[in-house]
């Protein structure tokens, strides 16, 4: 019998495109405060992203990978974490990273600043992973250590649809399954890996179904429904914490923009047509409709937070642009705890040369 994976892994929603409940399971947990928190963070992250794109266009930021359209997947999943959980984001997951506690200075990595990799003291947020899928086995390893130590911390690891093609995807999931490691594999299926659409990336209908091979739970959720993302991720994290092992979550979403500011999406898809369609399914619009339909909306509040957010982001840019110059010592001093003699010698030689050039 032919199996239909789209039926076996139906897209989980709590609210539909029109902002109406389709699943009331969590109704009692949904409060004004929670919904406003979601909304504020979604708007804040979109403002951040648009600002970054503008800065890049003005030559004030290097190549930057935007995430507009994916805010709900990132914000909803990050808000589901406990403070001391671990996060392994990719380069596209600044909304998740910032929501979980990274400062806006994360942006400075796109200006070639290593400072942009550093989480606040005590936060287990690993720098964005650039080599695709390599972070999955790492996340599994962190989770294995948590289990070994009897710690209650869970791990979330982000990756894209394209990442499922790398061997590291299999290795990360298989180890997690074998050792029942407390890790949530959070896939954002934005349906493109640069120019390659997901239907060319794989011959399977869903990403969630790949969980079957590891005999772990798989969930396919509407990644633009912040409530579904939040509650499903929370459930998976709880399960991991309680010894239930890993979960694979596929959040179906869409990036409106280019892969990065160096990419031209019109080369491989009809941007206008596609985005007109996908704007109907916008994560922020959907939450707004929901808030209006169920009495959570307050126009004055919205105006107020928009002002606040604008100030916050403007300040972030000021921070970015008033960073002290980079420190040459950073090139050499963190290769080892104690530099080897070769590095020491190379550093000395270079710095002498450089001082000579600078005449200082």
């Amino acid at each position: 019998m032919e199996r239909n994976m789209e039926e076996e892994f139906p897209v989980i929603q709590i609210i539909d495109k029109e902002g109406r409940y389709v699943d009331g399971t969590y109704k009692n947990e949904i409060s004004q405060e929670l919904v406003q928190r979601f909304y504020r963070q979604l708007v804040c992250m979109r403002t951040f992203d648009q600002k970054a794109i503008n800065l890049q266009r003005q030559g004030r930021l290097g190549t930057y990978p935007g995430f507009e359209g994916q805010e709900a997947a990132q914000v909803g999943s990050a808000l589901a974490l406990e403070e001391d959980d671990w996060m392994f984001p990719t380069y596209r997951d600044h909304a998740a990273s910032i929501t979980f506690g990274r400062s806006y200075n994360i942006l400075s990595s796109w200006n070639g600043r290593i400072e942009g990799n550093l989480p606040p003291e005590g936060k287990n947020i690993v720098p964005p992973s650039v080599p695709i899928a390599t972070q999955l086995p790492l996340a599994t390893g962190v989770a294995m250590a948590n289990k070994y130590k009897g710690s209650n911390q869970a791990v979330i690891v982000y990756f894209g649809d394209g990442a499922t093609s790398e061997g590291d995807f299999h290795e990360g999931l298989n180890f997690a399954s074998v050792y029942q490691a407390p890790v949530v594999f959070f896939n954002q299926n934005n349906r493109y890996a640069i120019s390659v659409p997901v239907w060319k990336q794989m011959n399977s209908e869903t990403i969630a179904q790949k969980s079957l091979a590891y005999d772990i739970p798989g969930r396919r959720i509407d990644g633009n429904d912040v409530l579904a993302v939040y509650f499903e991720t929370k459930k998976a994290l709880e399960q991991a914490r309680n010894g239930g092992g890993p979960t694979l979550i596929e959040a179906v979403t869409w990036r409106y923009g280019a892969h990065t500011t160096a990419d031209d999406p019109t080369k491989y898809r009809n941007q206008k047509e596609e985005n007109e369609k996908h704007r109907q399914n916008d994560p922020i619009l959907r939450l707004e409709l929901f808030m209006k339909a169920y009495g959570y909306w307050d126009e004055n509040w919205k105006d107020r937070i928009k002002d606040e957010i604008k100030k916050e982001i403007d300040n972030a840019v000021k921070g970015l642009e008033s960073m002290p110059p980079p420190d040459i010592n950073d090139i050499y001093d963190y290769m080892f705890e104690k530099p080897t003699w070769t590095i020491e010698q190379q550093k000395q030689e270079y710095i002498n040369h450089w001082r000579g050039e600078m005449k200082c």
């Binding site: 380069y91 093609s165 640069i194 390659v196 060319k200």
Partner: protein, 331 residues
């Protein structure tokens, strides 16, 4: 009457596209595969228009998997095809390292030639374009150290096309490194027809008397600028563009070295285990008694390519090469 060869003024990356097109036309066993090489024409546009021209069975996007790209290319090469695989950046080749090291480089040896791997791996490499982490690696010596694969690195459009064609027609695996910093840096005349630049042969691109500068790829403009600055101070240089990194053209090195007696080697990659050391050993073996000074290396430090706000501090500059020239002269 001489028939005039028709040429076009191309950038290095256009010359690569031209080389691919030439071979796709000439041999139907040639296929081009990799991430985003199809509709998108490659993230740098090296395969621009090729899918349109030759169809999806000849030029195609693969899943995002370097081990998959190289592993299947090895299989296809064993079975009569001539795959030209693109790795998006050299820094992303590491997942494929195993396939290259354990299969591509060994198949001929372990079957006494019964199975062979006539494939080409193309990869942009190098720093200096303000790229994000890992996009700027130039770890060529990881591959020159591997027995069983040739490594090629052109610095200009003419060599790029000619070496690429030689690489595709070579019966063994070839890693073809493309200095991404030079992709669109300048144009040069490139013959429209098929021609080859022989693998394993360097080129003397400037002649002098006092110092031999050896470089390749993106370091060629750096070496040339330094040579020019030296000339203003009355020091003239031979500049060798190595072009093939394995096997190295030892004759061109020996000949120049025996004339000048002084050598400066320039590469971006870390000093330790770098190709500079192999060049020193060639000089040691061929020209020991001609040495007038110790050989100088101008290289990256034993560190990763710095985040780009600091990357220029780790890339050899004409000024650093000049320091080295003074050192060998003043010894």
């Amino acid at each position: 009457m001489l028939t005039k060869i028709k040429t076009n003024k191309l950038t290095p990356i256009q010359a690569i596209t031209d080389g691919l097109r030439t071979m796709l036309k000439e041999r139907e066993e040639v296929i081009v595969l990799g991430e985003d090489v199809g509709v998108n024409g490659g993230v740098f546009r090296a395969t621009d228009g090729l899918q349109e021209e030759f169809g999806e069975s000849r030029v195609f996007d693969t899943p995002l998997s370097e081990a998959g790209i190289i592993g299947t290319s090895i299989g296809m090469a064993m079975n009569g095809m001539l795959p030209v695989a693109e790795i998006q950046f050299l820094g992303f080749i590491y997942p494929a390292y195993e396939q290259i090291m354990t299969h591509a480089t060994r198949m001929r040896y372990r079957t006494k030639g019964r199975f062979t791997v006539p494939m080409v791996i193309r990869a942009p490499y190098g720093a200096g374009v303000r790229a994000p982490e890992i996009h700027s690696d130039s770890m060529e010596a990881l591959f020159t150290h591997m027995p069983g694969i040739k490594v090629v690195c052109p610095s200009n459009p003419y060599d790029a096309k000619g070496l690429l064609i030689s690489a595709i027609e070579d019966p063994d695996p070839v890693l073809f490194l493309e200095p991404l910093k030079l992709y669109r840096a300048f144009r040069d005349e490139v013959p429209e027809e098929k021609y080859k630049v022989e693998l394993g042969k360097g080129k003397l691109i400037q002649e002098g008397e006092d110092v031999t500068i050896i470089a390749w790829g993106a370091m060629i403009p750096v070496a040339m600028q330094a040579a020019k600055q030296a000339e203003e101070k009355g020091i003239t240089c031979d500049v060798i563009d190595l072009r093939t990194l394995y096997p190295i053209d030892k004759d061109i090195i020996a000949k120049s070295m025996q004339k000048t007696g002084r050598t400066v080697i320039v590469h971006e990659a870390p000093a330790t285990g770098g190709l500079g050391n192999d060049i020193i050993s060639i000089i040691n073996d061929t020209s020991f008694l001609y040495m007038k000074s110790p050989i100088e290396r101008v290289t990256g430090a034993d560190v990763h390519v710095p985040f780009w706000a600091l990357e220029e501090h780790n890339i050899p500059t004409p000024a650093r090469v000049m320091d080295a020239i003074h050192k060998v002269i003043d010894f």
